[in-house]
């Protein structure tokens, strides 16, 4: 087996796959190591896909937390067949009460393609202002709920601008395969590679009405699902409504229509002799050579056997929490690695997620929500500077509706009253009055009637929000687990309240034809959730931020670790701020940018 490569990439998701694609096509020898399995489409196997349209694959049977030293020992959890087992690979966070708890949140997915296999595929760009939040805020004195002026102190500009990244957004949109519309976006585009969106689900009509009544300019949410043939990846679209299934968010696509990084970027290069993908291989640590370069990548294969490969360049892209953890585990094993990666104290610091939340209402009429994609309409209304000034907010965000959620019967029941995957099933099982006629009435009220509108916005970066290695808890390889310590800034809470109200307004105005009185079922930000600290919406970002000042960042503007010549980190951990939109497209665009940089030096 080959063990020397130009580039070894750890992780096959949004951060790793674009680099693999570009370098492999340019003839460089590339190895991708992926911890999870290679789940294939029907086309790959000429038979059945490993993904099924089956609700129990998204949320399986009950398991129980059996990790010592956590306060929720013994509690139930339910995971997808793609998520790592919580007992084998615990993510632990410190809760409000100071006690440690294990959480299923923050895992994304563990398979070739990573989170892009299971995500809802909303593929928004960040807004130009998301890249310059320090500049935007440094002379302001109207930021609310920020008594210590943390925002001004902690906001950072990215070392690259929107204009720098724009060509790579374009490449990403072309290469990945995304449908949507451009007009009314606050994100200028030099070229438009969007595919034509399919007609929206009829329930999204309420969102149209609400957004129009409020003067919120709207566009069809860019979703990474193909609706036409996609020449860059060689995928054919079967026609009609084939891409609208309802088995969307938290489901892999058996037909490969969802543009995950396997079908879009890796499969197209998988037959090249200079490209190799090794799934089911867990990287345990990196090692230096004598000359000051990171050289060795040590891993465990599917049989548990240890292996080592060498790369001229090493790219770490296994999701923010796991990438930071891998760098820390490497530092434990290698003093020289430690000296360099800890050239300042910032590794793991400024861990970020998103301010996330929304509103939900039971709409008049009933709709077949199972014929849908994850989202139909989006607006950048709340990313406008005027809006930020009116509301005293430091940063903006995107608002879009969720069309597919709760469109299937079991998901309706198990998410009834619960806000996340840690507390799934809880309300339904406890609401023992729902039987017989009353269960029928519950279905009558909720099945095909509920509509939610969500926001995704920047979280204030705080040094105290961080990833560490847990002092006692270990994973199935005996290695220290990641330990998440984070809280919400008062301004985050305020921001979530403001954005949730905007989402509620859309439903109020949409539900009654523009009068604004329609009752909203619930609204809020995730800080209000029972486990609001664990909640990270599976957008795990920061912890190894890039910047122009080596004393203020872990990575240089090229996403290369300061003090290293050949170590790059390209998942969401590079982000100094979390952006006002779902992060995947920006991670992909940045990886295409880094790929260009690597090409120049190989």
């Amino acid at each position: 087996m080959e063990n020397q490569f130009d580039v070894v990439i750890i992780g096959s998701g949004a951060g790793g796959a674009p680099i693999a694609n570009v370098l492999a096509r340019q003839g460089k020898s590339v190895l991708v190591l992926e911890k999870g399995p290679l789940f294939r489409t029907q086309e790959d196997t000429k038979g059945l896909s490993d993904f099924k349209r089956d609700e129990l694959m998204a949320t399986g049977g009950e398991k129980r937390i059996r990790v010592n030293d956590v306060a929720n020992w013994g509690e139930s959890y339910y995971s997808s067949h793609v998520e790592p087992d919580l007992n084998d690979e615990p993510h632990v966070y410190r809760d409000f009460d100071g006690r440690d708890r294990a959480t299923i949140e923050g895992y994304t997915a563990q398979c070739v393609g990573g989170g892009t296999q299971l995500y809802g595929a909303v593929s928004l760009r960040f807004a130009p202002d998301d890249f310059r939040l320090k500049t935007l805020n440094e002379s302001r004195n109207d930021i609310r709920n920020d008594p210590n002026e943390d925002v001004k102190r902690e906001a950072r500009d990215w070392p690259i601008s929107y204009e720098d990244l724009e060509p790579y957004y374009t490449i990403a949109e072309q290469m990945i395969g995304i449908n949507g519309t451009r007009q009314n976006q606050l994100k200028p585009a030099s070229q438009d590679f969007y595919q034509k969106p399919l007609p929206p689900n009829p329930i999204s009509r309420f969102v149209e009405i609400g957004m129009d009544a409020l003067g919120m300019k709207r566009y069809r949410t860019p979703v990474a699902v193909i609706t036409e043939d996609h020449p860059p990846s060689g995928r054919k679209y079967p026609g009609g409504d084939a891409a609208k299934t309802g088995y969307v968010n938290r489901y892999g696509c058996p037909l490969g229509l969802k543009s995950n990084t396997w079908v879009a970027l890796l499969r197209p290069v998988s037959n090249l002799p200079n490209f190799e993908l090794r799934p089911n291989c867990t990287v345990t640590h990196l090692g230096m050579d004598g000359g000051g370069a990171v050289r060795h990548v040590h891993y465990r294969d599917a049989g548990g056997t240890e292996g080592t490969v060498e790369g001229k360049i090493i790219v770490v892209a296994c999701s923010a929490i796991e990438s930071v953890r891998l760098l820390m585990l490497s530092a434990i094993r290698d003093g020289e690695f430690a000296r360099r990666i800890y050239q300042n104290d910032l590794l793991g610091k400024y861990f970020l997620t998103h301010c996330f939340g929304g509103a939900e209402a039971i709409m008049p009429g009933r709709f077949d929500k199972s014929i849908s994609m994850d989202s139909d309409w989006a607006t950048d209304f709340c990313a406008r500077r005027e809006f930020l000034q009116e509301e005293g907010l430091w940063a903006g965000g995107a608002i879009y509706n969720n069309t597919s959620d709760q469109c299937l019967p079991i998901s309706l029941a198990r998410t009834h009253g619960s806000q996340d995957i840690d507390t799934i099933w809880k309300s339904f099982v406890e609401d023992t009055s729902l039987t017989g006629d009353r269960l029928a009435a519950f279905l009558d009220e909720n099945f095909g009637t509920r509509l939610s509108v969500s926001f995704m916005a920047n979280q204030v970066p705080l040094k105290t929000n961080r990833i560490e290695l847990h002092p006692t808890i270990r994973d199935k390889w005996g290695l220290p687990s990641a330990y998440i310590i984070k809280t919400w800034h008062p301004h985050d809470r305020y921001l979530m309240d403001v954005f949730a109200e905007q989402c509620a307004q859309i439903l109020r105005f949409g539900g009654d034809g523009g009068k604004g009185q329609y009752p909203v079922y619930e609204k809020g930000g995730l800080y209000q959730a029972e486990n609001g600290l664990a909640r990270i919406a599976n957008h795990v970002l920061g912890g190894a931020r890039f910047g122009t000042d080596r004393s203020d960042s872990v990575l240089d503007p090229q996403c290369r670790a300061w003090e290293f010549d050949n170590l790059y980190v390209t998942d969401g951990s590079f982000m100094p701020t979390s952006g006002g939109a779902n992060p995947t497209l920006t991670i992909q665009a940045n990886s295409f940018r880094v790929a260009d940089i690597l090409l120049q030096r190989l």
Binding site: P37, L48, D50, R64, A242, G304, T305, P409, T432, L439
Partner: protein
């Protein structure tokens, strides 16, 4: 051991095909092995109460997934292929001794106890073979490792035959043979789940009757291999019987204790009628008492939280009613059909078009195969 379910396939050709070996590539095998079997940490983190204190399965993640039961597609006839499962056995050679030279599996699914040789996946401790087995069946098997017969060290399912011999066991999709419960337990369980679901309301009852009657025999057999008992409502008790035999085996004990408690309660409350035949009002009363946590006459020493059991039952019931029929509930897709019949309007023949995106012959998707 086969349940002898009659479907459209001729019994003789079925017997001929069962146990036929299929080729699966290494990636398919390693996709399961890496996640579930590979590890160095031997903490007993996967024991939720279903294992004995010395059972090494407690260190394995989701040991119940083995052998792997998957769908089948033969590139020729989807409807015929739909009646089969691919069953993949994985044996992991122990690390503390030299790897065996020969590993095979022998079982009731293959012709007259023929040992199927298992190939070694290169450079790994895993031996594997995949066999074609009809849906709706229960089988026993053992591994033959360098001539020695042994139980599957991974799969927790075992069964004791009439002669006292213990064998490893698996069942394929759509199985209706009782595995976990006695007849009387199934009967009480059916009454309880009926109370939770909307199907035994007068209206629901009418729907089910019409729905079942509207399906002809061939439709039933094509779409729902495994020959569900169409005389029973939605098959939720069967779903639970299978769930606690495999994925949630740790909850079998809850059912065993609580169904026994309920039986003796009803016996005391109404000595003249069989517990599964007591009037509906008695089930309603019991349900409400369990919901309150206060059940007069309940043996709290034996099971201290009847409300917890009720919550468990609620989750299992709603899941069984609406999960894919291959899991043994949602009989004849009646749960989905209930929703799709109930929800329609003038412009739409249904507002839950579940068949549109599911595999044929169960559904109508022209491309997707289950």
């Amino acid at each position: 051991m086969a349940t002898g379910v009659v479907t459209i396939t001729d019994d003789r050709s079925r017997a001929f095909l069962s146990g036929r070996i299929l080729e699966k590539d290494d990636t398919y095998i390693l996709n399961y092995a890496a996640k579930h079997l590979a590890r160095t940490n031997n903490d007993r983190r996967h024991d939720y109460g279903q294992y004995g204190s010395a059972d090494p399965r407690a260190t394995i993640c989701e040991a119940w997934r083995f052998p792997i039961i998957d769908g089948h597609y033969n590139e020729i006839d989807e409807t015929e292929a739909y009646h089969w499962n691919e069953v993949t056995f994985i044996y992991r050679a122990p690390q503390d001794r030299p790897a065996p030279d020969e590993v095979a599996v022998i079982g009731t699914f293959a012709p007259i106890y023929t040992a199927l040789p298992m190939r070694r996946v290169a450079d790994t401790p895993y031996f594997t073979v995949t066999a074609l087995v009809p849906k709706g069946e229960v089988h026993t098997y053992k591994y033959k490792v360098d001539g020695e017969f042994q139980l599957d060290p991974i799969n927790p399912q075992q069964t004791t035959l009439d002669n006292g011999a213990v064998w490893s066991r698996f069942f394929t999709q759509g199985c209706t043979q009782r595995l976990s419960f006695e007849r009387w337990e199934m009967d009480i369980l059916t009454r309880l789940t009926d109370h939770i679901l909307p199907f035994r309301t007068e209206e629901g009852q009418r729907f089910l009757q019409q729905y079942y009657e509207s399906l002809d025999r061939q439709t039933k057999e094509q779409r729902y291999p495994g020959a569900y008992r169409f005389d029973e409502s939605v098959g939720v008790a069967n779903f639970i019987d299978k769930l606690v035999a495999r994925e949630e085996n740790h909850h079998l004990i809850d059912y065993k204790i609580c169904l026994g408690e309920i039986k003796s309660l009803f016996r005391r409350r109404n000595p003249f009628v069989e517990p599964h035949q007591v009037p509906r009002e008695m089930y309603v009363e019991l349900y409400d008492q369990m919901a309150s946590g206060n059940v007069p006459g309940w043996n709290y020493q034996a099971y201290n939280n009847p409300r917890y059991f009720l919550q468990l039952l609620r989750r299992h019931t709603i899941t069984g009613a609406f999960a894919h029929p291959k899991y043994g509930g949602n009989a004849g897709a009646s749960g989905w059909a209930y929703l799709s019949e109930r929800y329609k309007d003038a412009a739409n023949p249904t507002l839950f078009d579940w068949r549109r995106v599911l595999e044929r012959p169960l559904g109508l998707d022209p491309i997707y195969r289950g």
